[in-house]
Structure formats: structure tokens, C-alpha cells
Assembly symmetry: none
Homo-oligomer: 407 residues x 2
């Protein structure tokens, strides 16, 4: 099976949007063992779409087209594909009812223009779009199967996983490789590679990819039929890099921490200065987090630190707001006042302003409090405000994870 | 001038790397007023590269190829292009000296394999690579100019800006267009299009793109030399859609609110339940936000709502935590306790759990408090937890903006 992705959208060509959809699709196909051979990115122009479809029908057996399924005049994918495949656009009552229901749920009336999205080529199969108005479409055309998906990443991803991958899997004439994931944090990519390299070389049949994110590196291992022992591979990797690996599944580190808190029957609160609510935001991204996450105080000003967290004027005066002492008092204060078992805190200089002679941008303290102890750890991150917030929140959540593992 | 980008590299197709190089080039070209019509992303395979070059020579006058200029056996771009253009690879002494010098600077001897990178097609002009070993190449071939650049983003970007853009600028037969941006929120793309459509039709020379984001739609207007009056276009658009437009520059809505707060000399706090810290996180993403953002309380549990915000047990009992009454008390409570001029609050059912017979997932109240008044507004969003958090935070920040504009 060989695949082509056609990404449609002016925003992908004028520098406004990076084509992360194609990356996601490439990874999903790789997981299935299907080779994505080419990505063609074009504007919402009929002639370009026809050229891409001609290429698709000539050289490929699987084609995934994204974008141009919206309701406006720019969105010509449905119309152009129908004309190219010599089929007509007809109103699909089921799709229309779905779109109307979606607007009703959101307490709004459907604008007449959205009716366009229920006009679908007569020869198409429909793919459910649980997150949006545009249904996906599926054609079997001679030796080529064509999928049309919306360009909105959340909708596209959901539909890839729910509809396209299962349909492709049915037609595979090989068994897909087994994919294993190890998600790490707290170690840079080059260092991680250095410590793992000689281990990986013992397992040449495994295809190993490093996927760096802002807050850590994922190791993706594709295992095909081979004589190599996966148990041995896994054991060795855990021995070398286990302390950086927070999960072997797809979950986020905040979900891992949530699971550990639930297992230990413990509650958490947070006092945030430089992260400004990001830790709390991430912890509450997890469904059910209200069972263990009580809340937090985002203490940006010194007054809020003193009045709401009980940070002492002495500590602020002697050490400054960005200090080990204040980080500790913040964590102890939020723990006591909100009544949780454990608490974390952050205080730092996110930048670009606020640096002093002894405290550079990127200096951050993460505090930690339990019933028995209060402590703080010093970090020096970089010069970018948003990255400093991300890294600080990640460091605090990772500290929590390591503490809970030791219990 | 119309342009094609050819991105070469297996990592762009197997989901490992997002093609941010093409985004960067697209933006650089758009700023010049050159239309990037297509991006073709292919593997390091000679047949694919030849296909792309055939397309380039047939349809385009400007082609920028990135990737495959490294020294290893995978890197076949130089060789393949030379063969396609019927020219020979010859050793360029200047390029060799540059590479040897670079290794010397880094205190290393040049590995013999890097000599490959000084083998360049006889008909090529060289483009200096100040950050790496592979020189860029430039061909004038019939009606098409071809640029070959390395795939390493740092090197590619530097060479685009230093060498390619100046060469393209020399050949431009137009002045670059003026780009105008209008960022909107609180209106869906289809509705926005509906109300603007007839106005846009009066200005056919303007190229208008709708760029939907999670929290709103950006309208991007490219204005070329024309007889149409931009002042008239702008005035008309503001009349039709002005109340949804929060900025005509590149800034985020939280920066707009920050600017308004600074202008009015007012301070802000937030009490967050369903958004769990996201409003606070977004407000503190803006450099200098400590001047007007004092902090917030993320009150996830009822106990925190009562103890830290002074929400009354009566209101919780009579109306439940997700109610107009509690939203109002939360805003009033955080305002008073943290001592700000104004405050916002959120309480809602983000989902997937927590719905009751009368309160569905997606029901959210946004509260608002000043010295003179306390109020709350009801919203019904969707079924997705993370989107509900995003939309609730956006609604709260937009309420703030509208309030500050009226002052």
C-alpha cells in the first residue's frame, strides 16, 4: 500500500499555518506500516486539485485529502472532487440533520450557508465527524481509495483515528508493526540518544524514532516480525533511561500524576507565580481531576503572596520573591489554606523583564510541601517567556511524579 | 512570479518532523508578494525528485528545493539535479576551502565524506551558508530559477533571508502587497462570512483569507496596487463586524485587554472553576502583565469556593456550583479578597462527566464584578472538555475587553 496526502488551504502556503496535519497522518500511516510517499500542498483552486487527483489516480492506491470542506466560497474541495469523479452533489439528509443538531446543541440556529456541508457527492460514503459540521467522505475509485477530511486539526485527527485507520487496516495485506511508546522528560534529546545508542544497536530490526516535544522526548519503537526479544529490549531500556520515562502509553504526564494521586488517595493544590496558572490548567485538563485537585492560588503580586498564601514579609524582604525561601512558604501556605495533602509552587523570572544582577531571566524555584516537609529546587531555564512557563510547570509536575512514585 | 517549494526528506513523511521550513518560505514569499502555489514533499528518491523538477520546469518560474544536501549516501539532491539539468558535478575549490575552514574552527579535521558537499553542478551559482557546510546552489534554467538549500532549518532560514530574498527582489516586477489583519472573536466563520460577503465583493482587487483558530477567526487582507480605497474598505468592515474585531495587528486578545487595563489604570483578578487556571495562564503570557494582573484563585472544590472566595453555602445549596449566583459570588469574592478593580470568574461543566438532568456538559457561567456591580452570563458550549475550557476562557476575556472599551 502506498499513500499520498493532499493538503488543501491557502493558509498552508502563505506562511500562516504549518502543515501539522500531514505530520500526524504520516505518523498514523507509519504506525500501520503504510508508506506515505508524497505530500502535495495546494491552494483552494480547482485546477490544482484536479492535478493532484490525476497524480493520485495514476500513482497511488490510498489518498488522504484534507481541507476545503468548510461552508464558504473558498471551500471547493467537495465540488471539485465530485466533478473530477463525474458524480453529482446531492443533499444528504442525515448529514444535514447532524449539522442542524450541532448548532442546536450550541444554542444557535444553523446559518443557511452551512447547508453546503450536507451537499455530498452521490458516490461517496460518509465518515462521521464527531467534533464539527463537515462530514468526511470516502470513495473507492478504480484502484484508488480516496478520503476527504476537514482541515481543522482536531476534527481531522479524530476522524483519522476513528474512521480512516480502521478502514485501511481492513485492506492491509501485512500485519502492522507493533508500536511501543516511551515518553520521557527531564533529559535533552542528544543526551538521551547518547545513553541509549549502544542498546538500540543490539536490536537492528526495531525502527526507533525520537520525537522531541517542548517538554520532553518521546521514543517510538516500531517492532516488526523478528527474532529479537522485545522483553529484553524493554528491560534494557528501562534500566538505562527508566527514571526519565513517565509512561509507556499515550497519556500526558499530568494524567500519570492524577493516576498516582488517586492510587495513593491524596489531594493536591498549587501556588503559582511565574507559571501563572499553567500547572492548575494542565492538572484540570484531565477528566475527573476534581477528585484529587482541589484548586490553586495564582499569586502574581507580593500582596497576594502575603495575604492569600501567608508568605512572610521577612522572607520577601531578605530573599526576594524569586527565592528558595518564598517558594517553600508558597507551597506550605497553599497546602495549609486549601487543605490538601501535598502542594507545589513556582516562583521565577519568566522574562523578558524582571532580571536583576544576581537573578537572570529563566531562574525558577519549584517548591514542594507535604505534612512532614517543605523544600524547594532551583532551575535555570532559557530566555523565552512562554517556554520558561512551560518548562517550569513541567518541572513541578515531574517533581510530583517522582515524589508519588517513592511513596 | 509564481513559486513552488520542493521539500525533500524521509523524516517529513514518516511523521517525525513537521515541515516548518515550507511555512517559513511561504511567509517570506507572501511578504514579497510572490505567490507560493504548491509545496511538494518527497522522499530522498531520484525518481520523485525528477518528477518534481519536471513539474517545476513546466509550471513555475521560481522553485525552492530544501533538503538532501548533506554528505551521506541518502543525500542525493545535488547529484539528481545535476543529472536532470544535464550538467556535471565538479569540485568547487572555494566551497571545499570553506568546509575545511569550518571544521578547523570547530577544532576538528574534515571527514573525507564532507568533500562530497564541495562537488557542485558546473552550471550552478553558489549561495553562501554561514551556519553550515553545504553551500546553497542557484540555477537559471530556461524560464525557471531554481534554488537548492539545506534542510537544516537554521541554515535554510539564514540563506533565504541573506541570499534568496535579495535575488528574488531584484526580479520582482511589482511592489510587495500591503497586508492587513483583523482578528475577531465571538462569531463563527460561516456567520462572519455571511455578514461580510457583500462588502468584500465591492473590493475585488483585495485578496481576502479567513483563518479560523480555536477562539476566533482572523481576516487577512492583501492589498495590491489598485484604485480601490483601503480607507473605505476598512471603514465598511469596521461598521459591519467592528464589535467582533479585537485588534488590527498581530497581538493576542489578552494583550489587548492588558493594554486597555494599563490605559485605564485598572487591576484584574480571576476566580476560575471550569477553566482551572487557563484565564490566569493566558493573562500572564503577556510580558509586563504583573503591572495589572494581581493573581487568581482556581477554586475547583466547593470547599475552596467557600473558604477562599466566600461563596455562600446557601447559594451552592440552592443553585448548585454551576449557576449564575455562584459565578457572581466568585467574581465578587476574588475581587474583594485579592483587592483588584475588576474580576472575572468561570464555573461550568467542562465534561465529560458532571452533567445533571438540567445542567448539560458545556454549560458555563462567566461572572464579572466591579466596585459597582456583579453580574454573570450563561453560555452553552460543546462536548469536548479542552475546547470548553478554551471557549470559556475566551468568553471571559472578551467580556473584559468589551467592558473596558465602554469605560
Amino acid at each position: 500500500m502506498n499513500a499520498l496526502v493532499v493538503s488543501i488551504g491557502n493558509e498552508l502556503l502563505n506562511g500562516k499555518t504549518t502543515n501539522s496535519n500531514a505530520t500526524f497522518i504520516g505518523q498514523q500511516l507509519a504506525d500501520l506500516g503504510v508508506a506515505l510517499k508524497q505530500i502535495v500542498t495546494i491552494r483552494d483552486e480547482a485546477a490544482r486539485i484536479e492535478d493532484a487527483l490525476t497524480l493520485a489516480m495514476r500513482d497511488y492506491d490510498t489518498v488522504i485529502v484534507t481541507g476545503g470542506l468548510g461552508p464558504t466560497h473558498d471551500d471547493i474541495t467537495r465540488k471539485t472532487v465530485a466533478a473530477f469523479l463525474d458524480t453529482e452533489l446531492v443533499l444528504n439528509e442525515g448529514a444535514l440533520a447532524r449539522i442542524e443538531a450541532l448548532f442546536r446543541e450550541r444554542g444557535r440556529e444553523m446559518p443557511p450557508i452551512n447547508r453546503q456541508q450536507a451537499m455530498v457527492p452521490a458516490s461517496a460514503g460518509l465518515l462521521d465527524n464527531p467534533l464539527g459540521t463537515a462530514p468526511g467522505l470516502h470513495f473507492d475509485e478504480k484502484d484508488t481509495q480516496i478520503f476527504l477530511l476537514p482541515g481543522v486539526p482536531r476534527e481531522m485527527k479524530e476522524m483519522m483515528v476513528r474512521s480512516v485507520i480502521p478502514l485501511l487496516r481492513q485492506r492491509l495485506n501485512h500485519s502492522p508493526p507493533q508500536i511501543h511508546l516511551y515518553r520521557t522528560t527531564g533529559i535533552v534529546e542528544s543526551k538521551l540518544y547518547e545513553i541509549c545508542q549502544s542498546h538500540f544497536e543490539k536490536f537492528p530490526a526495531y525502527e526507533i524514532a525520537f520525537l522531541p516535544k517542548f517538554t520532553g522526548v518521546d521514543i517510538r519503537v516500531a517492532e516488526r516480525d523478528s527474532d529479537e526479544s522485545y522483553a529484553e529490549f524493554q528491560e534494557g531500556l528501562l534500566e538505562i533511561a527508566g527514571k526519565y520515562i513517565y509512561t509507556q502509553s499515550d497519556e500526558e504526564i499530568e494524567a500519570v500524576v492524577g493516576r498516582l494521586l488517586t492510587e495513593k488517595g491524596m489531594t493536591l493544590t498549587a501556588a503559582e507565580s511565574c507559571t501563572g496558572g499553567l500547572i492548575s490548567h494542565r492538572m484540570t485538563n484531565i477528566p475527573g481531576s476534581s477528585a484529587y485537585y482541589l484548586g490553586g492560588i495564582n499569586a502574581y503580586s507580593n500582596e497576594v503572596k502575603m495575604n492569600m498564601l501567608g508568605v512572610s514579609a521577612d522572607a520577601l524582604k531578605a530573599h526576594g520573591a524569586v527565592s528558595e525561601a518564598v517558594a517553600g512558604e508558597m507551597a506550605a501556605g497553599v497546602r495549609e489554606r486549601l487543605g490538601s495533602d501535598i502542594a507545589v509552587s513556582t516562583t521565577g523570572i519568566a522574562g523578558p523583564g524582571g532580571a536583576t544582577e544576581t537573578k537572570p531571566v529563566g531562574l525558577v524555584y519549584v517548591g514542594f510541601a507535604t505534612a512532614d516537609s517543605v523544600s524547594a529546587r532551583r532551575f535555570t531555564f532559557g530566555r523565552d517567556r512562554l517556554l520558561n512557563k512551560d518548562w517550569s510547570a513541567q518541572a513541578a509536575i515531574e517533581l510530583l511524579r517522582r515524589y508519588l512514585l517513592r511513596l
